[in-house]
């Protein structure tokens, strides 16, 4: 077999070995370990009360409940949106009245039938006068 240099230990490596400790040194070291272990050992001897078990489960339980709630809320969302969709056609007059009262951007209106031209003209007038009166104030004042 070819000697690769990896088959035998390094010469002199035993110089790094731990020094022999006396029995007294060993005993002292072990006693120090056991003295420090008293408290953790005592803690382990205490019986665990059922409240502690419940408390330990409390946090993961809360997290699980929150996740379940979030999932439930998420799954209900499309159903609620579907429920809120109008099932009756909107009366055009109501929409026009609403658009005249508000100052916001007029909504895009959709109706099942063609708009009444008179109603459209009335809506345009209302929109131009702003306050709902058909005759402009300036004319009335004159």
């Amino acid at each position: 077999m070819v000697e690769t240099g990896g088959d035998r230990p390094i010469e002199g490596l035993e110089a790094l070995k731990a020094p022999q400790r006396s029995d007294a040194q060993r005993r002292a070291a072990n006693e120090r370990i056991l003295a420090s272990a008293e408290l953790p050992l005592a803690r382990r001897r205490q019986p665990t009360s059922s409240w502690e078990v419940l408390a330990a489960w409390g946090r993961p339980g809360l997290v699980a409940a929150s996740i379940a709630l979030a999932i439930l809320a998420g799954s209900l969302q499309p159903w609620r949106a579907w429920q809120q969709e109008p099932s009756q056609p909107v009366v055009l007059e109501e929409v026009i009245r609403g658009a005249g009262e508000s100052e916001g951007v007029p909504a895009m209106l959709v109706a099942y039938s063609e708009p009444d031209l008179d109603a459209v003209a009335a809506a345009a007038l209302l929109d131009r006068n702003g306050n709902g009166s058909v005759i402009p104030e300036t004319v009335e004042q004159r």
């Binding site: 690769t4 035993e14 110089a15 731990a18 060993r26 120090r32 272990a37 050992l41 382990r44």
Partner: protein, 189 residues
């Protein structure tokens, strides 16, 4: 090939001792300390090369093991688990010490600890410690456990949780690198 060691041969009734220690039984824990403390000290000394530092680390290692003993799977070896914990702690400790000393040679204990050691021996230790410290952590651990402490490759495989074949090839590679490093040290001092 190294002779079979007893590094990981369990004490009689070890699983029961571990179970009792889990419940806070002082005698059971004392039996585990009695069984593993000496070898643990020797292993840690291989990394730190300092008596007090090694004793402190073994002390802390046992306390940490007691605190974490619930994570030891029933039926698995306390020794392998404990040595794994110790080796990691020793590597971390040495890194910390090296940073604190701002010293390239991680183990300068040879001169610090034993003034009685003749200078030639101290120099040999310094050289070996330097070369060992240059190895990747896993290779260094294998050399320390095998060549210094007499663990067998199957035992090391259990401690490091690696395949036995990997352990053997790592050992061979580590020795080759060590030889190269020692030669380099000799030439460049």
């Amino acid at each position: 090939m190294a002779a079979e060691s007893e590094a990981l041969s369990p004490v009689a009734d070890e699983p029961r001792l571990v179970a009792r220690a889990r419940r806070g039984d002082r005698e059971a824990f004392a039996a585990l300390v009695e069984r593993y403390a000496d070898q643990a000290f020797a292993v840690v000394y291989g990394f730190l090369q300092h008596v007090e530092d090694s004793e402190d680390l073994v002390h802390d290692g046992f306390i940490r093991a007691l605190e974490r003993i619930d994570s030891l799977e029933p039926g698995s070896s306390f020794g392998a688990w404990f040595y794994r914990l110790l080796v990691n702690a020793a590597l971390n400790r040495r890194k910390y010490l090296a940073r604190r000393r701002m010293d390239d040679v991680p183990m300068t204990a040879a001169a610090r600890e034993s003034p009685a050691i003749d200078s030639e021996r101290a120099e040999l230790r310094r050289r070996l410690a330097w070369a060992l410290g240059k190895l990747p952590a896993e290779l260094e651990t294998i050399v320390i456990l095998h060549d210094l402490e007499g663990f067998t490759p199957p035992e090391i495989a259990r401690v490091l949780e690696i395949p036995e074949g990997t352990c053997r090839s790592h050992l061979s590679r580590a020795r080759r690198i060590l030889r190269d490093l020692l030669e380099e040290y000799q030439h460049h001092g």
